[in-house]
Symmetry: C2
Subunit: 262 residues, 2 copies
């Protein structure tokens, strides 16, 4: 791989409620079939979303090192791929709304959703990992999940930690996020991959329109609201590493922290 060129993408899929094996099969099929360096799947891509209570959710939650993930790990290792997807994570008796990054060596990293939305606050523990960046195949990848988008500090924190690409598994039900992610990419000069799901559960209707945005705020691709789609695009990492927007303004060096309220 050329150091500056990477193939990144999203898989906008419907997810079957309480059917982890079925969902995993769909994910595996895509991971095997397509050629990419990094692909991002939606939030809670194994379990589905609308659980009644913690007890019910626990049955569809997995530990990071669960063997259910072994096959994806093996594929990542043998074909040098990076996969990100959301799952319900159990750990020491707690349940988190997490995102799993499996790197090109099959190694697993977990991000736990920092800002829980609506009834998630009842089902999950607040994330305790914070925002971090992993260097995989020379790509600096950061994760945030769905509702994290509305807090500008989420993407800002990832960008300040050197992120090239924000992997953003989502189960969006409101219409604002996709346009806001253009601003997130633009203000931080990073790529963002928002992978949203389709379909509905109970009163929730998930809104699709998964997208990839460039560090210049250009929507490289946006899916429809109605059908599954796998999209892979070749991108240049040097764009996310250049924070100069003209010869006078570097978007990071021009920050004036002394005047910022936190």
């Amino acid at each position: 791989m050329n150091k500056c060129q990477s193939k990144i993408g999203y898989a906008q899929i419907d997810i079957a409620f309480k059917k982890p094996e079925k969902n995993l099969e769909k994910i595996l099929k895509i991971v095997k079939k397509y050629d990419f360096d990094l692909i991002v799947f939606p939030e809670l891509a194994l379990s589905g979303y609308d659980f009644k209570n913690k007890k019910e959710l626990l049955n569809f939650s997995f530990e990071r090192e669960d063997k259910i993930f072994d096959e994806i790990s093996n594929i990542c290792k043998t074909s040098s791929k990076i996969v990100v997807f959301g799952f319900s994570e159990k750990s020491d008796g707690k349940i988190f709304n997490s995102s799993l990054l499996i790197d090109e060596n099959g190694k697993r990293y977990v991000y736990r959703k920092t800002h829980l939305f609506y009834r998630e606050t009842i089902l999950f523990e607040k994330g305790d990992t914070g925002f971090f960046v992993k260097d995989c195949k020379g790509i600096k990848i950061g994760m945030m999940i769905c509702f994290d988008w509305i807090f500008p500090e989420s993407s800002r924190s990832l960008a300040l930690k050197g992120c090239d690409i924000i992997a953003h598994p989502s189960n969006l039900v409101l219409p604002y996020c996709q346009d806001a992610m253009i601003t997130r990419s633009l203000e931080n000069r990073v790529y963002s991959i928002t992978s949203n799901r389709l379909g509905g559960e109970g009163t929730y209707h998930f809104t699709g329109k998964s997208q990839i945005v460039s560090p210049q705020g250009i929507v490289l691709n946006r899916a429809s609201a109605h059908s599954e789609k796998i999209y892979i695009v070749e991108i240049a990492l040097n764009l996310s590493r250049n924070k100069k927007i003209n010869r006078y303004n570097d978007i990071f060096k021009c920050r004036r922290k002394d005047f910022y309220e936190c």
Copy 2:
């Protein structure tokens, strides 16, 4: 005035380069003619924008208490109006790209642009006032100028200081700001008034599309790119004071500062 209802607006105007008296006359006419609590004019509304150097700019710069502003101050006082406009401010031998807020008592407050854009970095000193909020007629008003928008910390700082309405005088030449301000209003649950200018100077073409956005991210009005427009709308301040977006999420209380990089 009902405490919860305020009339706020923008004046999208062309500005004559190096003709402060002519520009002031236009501003005065609007301030006299329209009924409002708060109106926002563009950035550098007295002088125009594209100065060769500091020496040239100095001739079109004014001190905060300059008598050129007396007539506006008097109108504000007698008719209980609040006016915000950009001007080139001289102070102790320095020049700032500033915004003047004249309150309903005719008192003047200056915000000095924190993040200078492009050649402004040569012409002006970096602002030293920081972001502050003034309570005028029960409306908590904060100011930022043009390019400040790209730094999420600008509007965030104002919102965290209790701002209801961001008054945002602008001379925009790029197409991104207006959509980004929807995100700024939404993520902070505040009103924003972006008052942009029309016309061109040298290689600069100013892009109009002034707008007012509600705390729910609704564009209450957006002007065209091609003609002058004065727009006033009645708004409810209780919307900017309610940071709850559903019964589980308060956009401020859900912030998790321990995980934010600054």
